[in-house]
Amino acid sequence: MKVKPVLFSITIMLAVFAVATQASAWSLEEAAKPYAGTELEVVFLLRPGYEAAEKMIPEFEKKTGIKINIIKHPYENSLSEQVRDFVANGDLDIALIDLVWIGNFAENEWIVPVDKFTKNPDLADPELDLDDFFPLVLNAFGAWNGVVYGLPFDNYSGLMFYNKCMLKEAGFDRPPETWAELKDVYGPKLTKDGKYAFALQSKRNETQSCDSFARVLWPFGGSFLDQNFKSNLLSDGSQTGLKFRQDLMQYMPPGIVSYDHAETINALAQGDVAIITEWSAFYATLTNPETSKIVDCIEVSAEPKGPAGRKPALGGFSLAVASQADEKEQAAAWLFIQWVTSKANAKTYLELGGVPARQSVYKLPGVAEKYGYVNALVESWQEGVPEFRPRFAEWPQMTEIVQEWGTKIMLKEVTTEQGAKEIGSRVEALLKDAGYYDGKKPLAQ
């Protein structure tokens, strides 16, 4: 008998066995032991997904001894709060990243790529399974320039919520399939007696840029920028979309330019408006008898299609480890992020009011039946546009320009062409200054 091949085979078997036992031996409690007593600071928003996570946190703290300190902010303050903290080398250990901030945070090196932790067997959960995240969501919310920094946490897609009772009264047995149908067929029949067919939240903040302006660009074949990073707002597609929005305003409540999410959700929930396109996260509000008069009438579907297809609004937040945290805090932060976004906890998060980005949870029996928005959400996450809004570092300044002129267009202070020209020239000046046109920065969004 030849000894060497036998010894080699035994060695291989032992190695495989060692890896298998190592993998099955990983537990959060063991991994967290060196970090017990660590306190982590993180900014949370005042939204259902965060409330869901807050309810889960005591279990994490009990298992690990790691304390999570939450600083709550409305969305409008959360970026400036975090930027100030990172610039001043403050206390935040976890970064909450809107998908449009990822370029900014990554280029400033305020966040740590996840592979620092996924390559560490002491910290990486073998069940992490990044492939279980919807690829669009992981790529758009958590990755920049091919590097993954954050795991999707508070995840949205734009969905169409409608009052089926109002539609039925007006003679419709289904929601509109296309934007054109919404305006030309549903609009006139649903707008009467103080009620309106549609409301499009358009307040002069990120709502204007994302919910209103971008929403009418992509489905009509438009976009903010062309492939050379020059303004594309004067293109046929963009102008068609912006003019469409102007026409659609006749079927919206007066003062729509002052409507933010709360006003729009409320308008539907109180039965004043028949159809809205809003974030999936608001399903809980619309199906809660305490906050909605139309619980028995609410239905959900994917956003309408435009000539360029279905391009629903895309938005959401990932959690990433802040680079200003020390090594111990970074490790503890990673354990929390990995746990709260895990496959194992996805169902709990969903049941508590959150919207996980794990594909597996939506395949569980009964989930689609219990949560009426699931089918529309899954469909939307197959078709979304990662660059629905540019995610580069200059977005915070660019969005201010879009917000200002987007609302001026809606108020008819300028035409769509004038507004587009104004936005275009200002954005191009901004991008030129940043170095996109002379090759200093790659054309990544």
Binding site: L79, S80, V83, R84, V87, N104, N108, K203, R204, N205, P254, G255, I256, V257, S258, Y259, D272, A393, P396, Q397, E400, E404, T407, K408, M410, L411, E413
Partner: protein, 292 residues
């Protein structure tokens, strides 16, 4: 003549804390603002902060959006200040009248309530009060038979709403300052004037008004400075919208500096605003202030 000498150290000990506070809270930040206004100071890109000289100031002064915001702010000032002074004088004259002391005391106390309310709360109250569907204002005008008015969502009405709210909040301040001025009028002089004439305007113009001038000058300076930097109430009520209809200069500075993160440009805007405030204050003192 007896000269009293104080040790240098004692003098420094008394004025030192105040000077240090002034330097830390006032002069230091101002100096840093001047520094950032001369540089490209983008919070999201602090690796590059080149010296720009006066380029930020040039950008600000040639930006019509800045002048539009400044125009709106001056328009607010020109509308609300005279109304506050006129109503303030009226209230002060009523409170100065003898008699009904309990009612006068209660009224004086209740005048403090609007001034004591935090700006941000006033703005939130405004959001609720002027709501098109649920607001008190539309309920009241509905009782009079008028259709609901779109206050917050209409550019012109939103501006009227913030004017109204500023007048509501600060007219009591004007009335209390002017009331203090009226109490400075010598009683015998006022009595003699009232014996000469029953005309309240004659008494106000020739007897009481000279004593109101110092108070009026203080009101002009303080209310001008307050209005030029008005932020919280408008931000919570309209956020500068709809569109730019209520974007005052302070909101624009906040937007540029803390949402666009361009601290250099925002500092230049703030320095220009400071210069304007100082010029207006000096003009008020030069043209209005008289010793009694």
């Amino acid at each position: 003549m007896l000269k009293i000498r104080h040790p240098r150290l004692t003098c420094l000990a008394f004025i030192g804390p105040a000077v240090i506070s002034l330097l830390t809270i006032g002069i230091g930040p101002l100096a840093f603002a001047v520094y950032t206004s001369l540089h490209r100071y983008q919070l999201t890109n602090l690796r590059r902060t080149p010296f720009l000289g006066l380029e930020n100031y040039q950008t600000v002064l040639s930006d019509y959006v800045f002048w539009e915001a400044m125009g709106r702010t001056m328009k607010l000032l020109i509308i609300v200040l005279p109304i506050q002074i006129i109503i303030g004088i009226g209230i002060a004259l009523l409170l100065h009248k003898p008699g009904m002391s309990v009612l006068r005391t209660l009224t004086r106390l209740s005048l403090v309530i609007p001034m004591a309310t935090t700006y941000a709360v006033v703005g939130l109250l405004g959001q609720v009060t002027f709501n098109i569907k649920y607001g008190v204002v539309n309920q009241l005008i509905g009782f009079l038979g008028f259709a609901p008015v779109n206050w917050i969502g209409d550019p012109n009405n939103a501006f009227i709403a913030i004017c109204f709210w500023d007048i509501w909040q600060w007219t009591p301040f004007c009335s209390l300052v002017l009331l203090a001025g009226l109490t400075m009028v010598p009683v015998e002089v006022e009595e003699a004037a009232r014996l000469e004439t029953r005309n309240w305007w004659t008494v106000l113009r020739y007897v009481q008004f000279p004593f109101l001038i110092p108070g009026l000058t203080a009101i002009l300076i303080l209310r001008t400075a307050d209005t030029l930097k008005l932020f919280d109430m408008v931000f919570t009520m309209t956020r500068g919208g709809p569109g730019s209809a209520t974007e005052l200069i302070s909101l624009m500075i906040q937007r540029v500096g803390f949402r666009g993160f361009d601290q250099g440009l925002a500092s230049a805007q703030a320095i220009i605003l400071l210069a304007l405030t100082i010029i207006l204050s000096q003009l008020y003192i030069r043209f209005f202030y008289r010793e009694v």
